[in-house]
Point group: D2
Chain length 346, copies 4
């Protein structure tokens, strides 16, 4: 069986990572087309991959006859149009989060895919493919913890780019915990509140950091998330599930390195993963390999995905929109979503 | 210098522990009088300690000329009267929490002690004497974490007595995190909200469990506490301090015992401390030794305490009262306290 | 660039794993030929891989024009002949340990490859590709621990097949620590002693278990290894490096699952990886991907390997032979090896 | 019951610690007499303890009518004479290790005590009173690990005084693991070998460091100990027990402090206890409280001890003497001890 031919749209840090991943670590696929709004960047990346060329227009790249499937790593505001183009050409697409940047257009994408009667869209919530999250989910599904009750999350970054603002903490960081919650609990989030503690004196002017998100699922389960994106320490993602019959932790560090102190006693410990690429590199590999395999068998199954769907992207958008509203008001905000049953095939 | 002669009032599980502690592990003190509303119990305990006798009335025990200082391990509703009696007799007293069972009488106790111009009352918040909490406080005071920002707490019990109700989770369990917050942050708590998630199906009828407490200090620091008193697992108390320059964890388990599985792979891990006596036994020893030492040097200093004061007991009562109100309403409740400066000497 | 066409010889548990790995997770390669002395097994495996067929004779499989490179997962005693056939056909080969089953034939293989002037043979010591071992090696090479001094190793299996005997503990288990030692210390092992403690009452009759290996490198570094292959617990591999300026641990478990106890207090901990496939699955993936990449660029470099060489296989054989001698005598035995410089190109 | 009156002989770092311990943290005892070969030091210490005076001659201190029991924290070479004086005066004595500095005099002490028909001598192996060692011993005695098989120990110091030499590593450091082995395994050590790896370049000239001790018990159990006293890191004591049915670790660090890195990613970890006083302070407290309690009930029981006996001190001396011999020869040395049954009462 011949390799899947893939177009990667957007070759910034993440997209370039995906090109390298597909070219050197994923079985059954090769990158034939790349695209970026910076033409030279696309051409430089293409030059490093045998059999790959740069295409100047993202919609041309999607339509290209030499392309079987698409990876979207473009800026969020362009996703809308590009996803609809993929649906028009009936080409499977792995779309980095967000699905789209507003709730309405996300819902439109969900509906358009549902009308096609095929699953073509997968959203890149990579944590679902992390070994620890997968193991936790498997233990939960096996009933190891009885009924799940509470989820505590910590999501810390050492620093953010100067362009970051308070609402991006919700839309770019919290969105992962939104998806983790829905993944682990298998239900929707009903309401969200963003608490704004006294801010980190070391944070850039104007950004609310840390933020505490309080979420409640439709059945009343509680989730809290510490979002802290200017810690100066490292990238730390931890999740504790508390259930009726036990609890479990994800993301504790391992390994014991012992070193002498400059002054005072020696220390033990280790490095924390500095960024999401180190922390979730393996998860991305697994995500991509499973996606490639699913796309290759899609003709037979009608399902070209093996992971979070367009609906999952829409639900995340709806929760984050409510979160941004709460960030302004400081009050709990109900999440507004259409009834999934009202969209056959979604 | 002769030993301090101590009366222990209330010899239930905790009071009997304290008698044994004073008799066998604390230097410079001996128990001369015990009292309990169950006379036989008091007599049985007295019989086991050389030189100790049972006294039938708690106020007589306090007044006894053979008593230099008092330990109160009686039920909370009796504390009020007994504390005032100690003040009347100018006898130092170590009072198990709560100071009293309502805010008004706690404030009255604060005022009466302040009028005396001596510090005679210490409240038994033992976590302040736990090695890990002391170490964390020392690191914070040394500036190791920069400005403190957020505190995450977990407080779990395997089970509670049948008599327990939802408000006791706040008054008996949360009260410790209230004191820990005030101890670590050195400021008052301004507001509190109790969130009521879907309840543990294994919890007794009518009790809200788990509960999530959200507190905000006067300067805006955020504290969240998971209270879960029917876990069926063990006694788990964890605290994570997040500061401007780093974070720290208290209460993780240690030790690695590896065992074969009955079926499937082997496991590693260890036992969790089953109850507060195992978890905080050392802290109680330290608390008592330091209190005995303080009382013995009190004549010289005018301060017969070395730990949380009557004011700390009053503040905890005020926060818990607001917490119980929030438990009913589900809304955030502002904590109502008098201005400390309005009570000279408090 | 077209995919590398690979023949996998031996499709027992490990070989079948490698076929599945190459077919579904490795980029740039596909399995075109499989072989096994059990013909039906080879045919069954071939049937599961598009474009793959079974070939009855291992030497025919190596010679097959549809094969660019070879993976040897056949029994050790056949390696000798098969490796020489690979050299004769100038085909790169990834050979599961051992290189060969005796020192003389291992040396012969080293010499024959050296005469060819190309690196064609890589030995399957997969730990060199494990994330933690790679990280430790990188830290050591960066001088993080100063001069390395001591290595403590633990190598435990829950159980071994009935056919296992005492010398196989040395040849099949210890061989990994022999390679780890040479990898981390970058020097040869000069002597080895096997200590035989009182045996595990639960071990099969006639097998010495546990065994303690004491090794000394040419510069005098000390290595000890606990070999214990009937623990009944799980597969545990731990390594502690002690250096002049600090130390580091590999293989501690991570994650905290808390569960109620049947009787008595609750426990915390987690599962230990049950076997080497779970523990080192990722390492095998990395090993194979890097090997495939190296083979594909071999025409240009003359080096078709990216990992342990035939010399490493020979050195391991020499140390294990001395170990088996010590197992008999109980005395330290000097390792007998030729001078590497005497074989140009080795 | 009146307090036990204690003489502390030797008030260097350790003896002064013990005076402070007895004066401020131990119930039922007070220090009435102190002695030191530096008279001023003894007088300074005495001045800090109410009711305590300095006595110039150690034998006078022992004989003093104001002394019920003795703590020996004097240099090892003086123990011999002082212990015999305690026996002559029939005064219970807690003797810091070593019992005496040579095997013959240790045996003499054992015999003299046995002749008295009372247990008066306890040796200060404090690890037997450490929470973790006590817990491990309890689990072993409960059969949790089945038959014990192997013990791995690590004993590291950040630095040693300039006067330290290679044999002191055996006599002062290893002696603790000798006692731990005998304590946990309940049997004697039959042979010992000291392995001398290439030395730490940072160690003072002339000291062999690290050293590896290999011991074998009479029933064939294996023990290895890494002794490394110039690590520059901290005081680290770890013990791993491996049994037929599982294994357990003592001495891993706990707590997770996270800090930003100066350069590169942040780190996690914590301080390691800098010295034995921090690591084993609690164990000393427990040791002393239990010893005081035992002495106070000794009149009734004839046993004035609750811990390691003179025989334990003798056995440790015998093993260390063999260790020092092996340090010279590099060969395994059999431990030479008299048959315990030949000394009735020992």
């Amino acid at each position: 069986m011949s390799d899947l031919r893939i177009a990667v749209l957007g070759v910034g840090i993440m997209g370039a990572d995906h090109v390298e991943r597909l070219a050197t670590r994923i079985s059954g696929a090769r990158v034939t087309v790349v695209n970026d709004f910076l033409t030279e960047k696309a051409e430089a990346v293409a030059a490093g991959v045998p059999g790959c060329r740069a295409v100047g227009d993202p919609l041309d790249a999607i339509a290209d006859p030499d392309v079987d499937a698409v990876v979207l790593a473009t800026p969020g505001p362009t996703h809308d149009k590009q996803l609809l183009a993929c649906l028009d050409h009936v080409k499977p697409v792995l779309c980095e989060k967000p699905l789209t940047t507003d709730v309405e257009s996300s819902l439109e994408v969900v509906k358009r895919e549902a009308e096609l009667g095929r699953r073509l869209i997968q959203v890149g919530f990579m944590r679902r493919f992390d070994d620890e999250y997968m193991q936790l989910k498997a233990l939960m599904d096996a009933g190891e913890f009885g009924q799940p009750l509470v989820l505590h999350c910590v999501h810390r970054n050492p620093a953010v780019p100067p362009s970051f603002d308070s609402s991006m903490v919700v839309k770019d960081s919290l969105v992962h915990e939104v998806d983790v919650t829905r993944f682990l609990f298998d239900e929707e989030i009903a309401s969200i509140q963003i608490i704004k503690p006294a801010t980190n004196p070391g944070a850039p002017q104007g950004i609310q950091d840390p933020q505490i998100a309080i979420m409640r699922t439709t059945s009343g389960k509680h989730v809290d998330v510490e979002l802290f994106v200017t810690t100066g320490v490292a990238y730390e993602v931890r999740t504790e599930l508390v259930g009726e019959m036990g609890s479990a932790f994800i993301g504790l560090d391992v390994g014991l390195i012992r070193k002498g102190g400059q002054a005072g006693p020696g220390t033990w410990g280790g490095q924390i993963t500095p960024g999401f690429r180190e922390r979730f590199g393996r998860a991305y590999d697994t995500e991509f390999q499973r996606w490639v395999n699913a796309v290759r068998r899609g003709q037979a199954t009608g399902d070209y995905t093996d992971g979070p769907s367009a609906w999952d992207g829409y639900a995340a958008a709806a929760v984050c929109a409510a979160g941004v509203e709460s960030l302004q008001s400081g009050q709990p905000v109900d999440v507004s979503m259409v009834d999934r049953a009202s969209i056959p095939g979604a």
